[in-house]
């Protein structure tokens, strides 16, 4: 569904993405993990067309995304930090987003109901807590029946009840055969949500396989442990090749 071919992106001297090649298939759910500054957000932003790669191609449903914007009506995006104009009301924001995506037909208001945002439609953004803003971001990402969802740190800052609601929703969408990409540092959440792991380090995709294969390879039962072991193995390998 999304195929990324040899994508490089550098900001000045820093290489944020280095020869990234990745096929993201419909019906699968990917955990995008890696340390801070490993290029996860740059990759997500490249897919969304917010960052323009220095070289390489990104195709969405077989069509290049460069110079195009219409493909984004098939993507729901939840940003890492949801900051909205201070004096805008929740209702106005949702109305505006609906207006932008006019042709998409019926909206999915399950999350708005589950988070009880209806009652707060008249509240202004500056009066909301960080967690509530996060809920608004989540509700907006799921508002339109889109075939692919990109969630950047979706559960950070949410209370336990809301985390469960959101996870339940993500699982539900996954069962409906959507493409889901979740970037997070909370690996226990990803363990339940995702079936595939994309591990990034210093702008490169270091590992791309199913969660099961990773666990088998590292002999660990939990995703967190498995990743830690993977990183240690890789570090060992690079130190060996460096010393040679």
């Amino acid at each position: 569904m999304i195929s990324i071919k040899d994508v490089c992106k550098s900001f000045g001297k820093i290489k944020a993405l280095d020869q990234v090649t990745l096929d993201l298939v419909k019906g699968k759910s990917y955990a995008l993990i890696g340390p801070n500054g490993s290029g996860k957000t740059t990759l997500i932003k490249s897919i969304l067309g917010l960052v323009i790669p220095t070289s390489g191609d990104i195709d969405f449903d077989g069509k290049s995304i460069f110079g195009d914007w219409k493909y984004r009506d098939r993507i729901g995006y939840m940003p890492q930090i949801g900051r909205y104009p201070d004096n805008m009301r929740i209702g106005q924001l949702i109305d505006m987003m609906r207006n932008i995506r006019k042709g998409t037909g019926k909206t999915d208001e399950e999350l708005i109901d589950a988070f009880r945002l209806h009652k707060m439609y008249d509240k202004r953004m500056h009066a909301l807590s960080g967690g509530t803003r996060q809920k608004v971001s989540a509700a907006l990402a799921f508002l339109f029946h889109v075939p692919s969802l990109i969630l950047d740190e979706p559960t950070a800052g949410l209370d336990p009840v809301s985390v469960e609601i959101l996870k339940e929703k993500i699982m539900h969408e996954k069962r409906m055969g959507k493409l889901i990409i979740v970037s997070s540092h909370i690996l226990s959440d990803l363990d339940e949500l995702t079936g595939d792991v994309v591990y990034m380090y210093e702008g490169r995709v270091q590992y791309n396989d199913t969660v099961e294969a990773l666990k088998e390879e590292t002999n660990e039962a939990r995703l967190g442990k498995a990743i830690a072991t993977l990183i240690r193995q890789r570090e060992l390998l690079t130190s060996v090749s460096d010393s040679r």
Partner: protein
């Protein structure tokens, strides 16, 4: 796009910055009318406020607003819309709210105390100056990712056009005083939107004679309707060129 503009416009109107700006203009206009009963003199005093304060507030507010809405702009660009739509939406919302504040703050007292044609010219040049400096501020905002740097560049525009440029112009006129400089200064003035607005205003107030021989020359040039059209046209160019440059950068920019 209209709905984007409308909601951002509502949002900006409620920011403290804009409220204070409107209040400041209201109070100073009222105060000036209280001090002097001659509407012409009041307009002249107001002219100085407009030429200094309006560009300053426009550049500072626009850059601050741009960087405060950075995440929001990002989110909107992740939606199926053309970047141009978001850019013009932001521009129209910011420019119209600043113009609205200016018209409310200066226009209402003028209507109350009775406004002549010179008052309308003042309002017109204030609005045009707002548009010019909002364009320049958008340009400085898209040039860099750093908020402080962008505000710095925007302030530099203001310093240059409000203070430095006039000094340079005076220096040129003094140094080359022995030569006929009318056409040269006329051309040089076209490169400064603040001066253009001032000239339009001074001609309207009919005190260009105070500016000596050059003033008389401007009068003969600008006083005609073609002269007015010419200066307004140049100001429109001052709005469009920075805006176009900012748009070009914005559509290719990494956010």
């Amino acid at each position: 796009m209209t709905r984007i503009v409308r909601y951002i416009f509502y949002d900006i109107l409620r920011t403290r910055f804009i409220l204070l700006y409107t209040l400041f203009l209201l109070i100073s206009t009222f105060a000036l009318f209280q001090l002097d009963s001659d509407a012409g003199k009041v307009v002249l005093s107001l002219l100085n406020v407009v030429l200094m304060v309006v560009p300053l507030i426009s550049v500072v507010f626009t850059t601050i607003h741009f960087f405060n809405s950075y995440e929001f702009i990002e989110l909107m660009l992740a939606q199926p819309v053309d970047r141009k739509v978001i850019f013009f939406g932001e521009y129209l919302a910011v420019a119209s709210s600043l113009c609205f504040a200016f018209l409310l703050g200066t226009g209402v007292p003028m209507l109350v105390f009775g406004a002549g044609p010179s008052a309308f010219t003042l309002l017109f040049s204030g609005v045009v100056l707002t548009l010019v400096f909002v364009s320049l501020a958008f340009l400085s905002s898209v040039l860099t990712r750093d908020k402080a740097k962008a505000i710095g560049i925007a302030l530099l525009f203001w310093f240059y056009f409000s203070l430095i440029y006039d000094g340079l112009l005076l220096w040129i006129i003094y140094t080359f005083g022995d030569y006929p400089l009318e056409k040269v200064t006329l051309t040089l003035i076209a490169f400064n939107p603040v001066d253009l607005a001032r000239i339009i205003m001074l001609l309207q107030l009919d005190i260009s004679a105070l500016m000596g021989y050059t003033g008389a020359f401007y009068k003969s040039f600008f006083g005609s309707s073609t002269g007015m059209l010419f200066s307004t046209g140049i100001l429109v160019v001052w709005i469009l060129v920075p805006l176009w440059a900012a748009l070009r950068i914005f559509t290719r920019k990494d956010l």
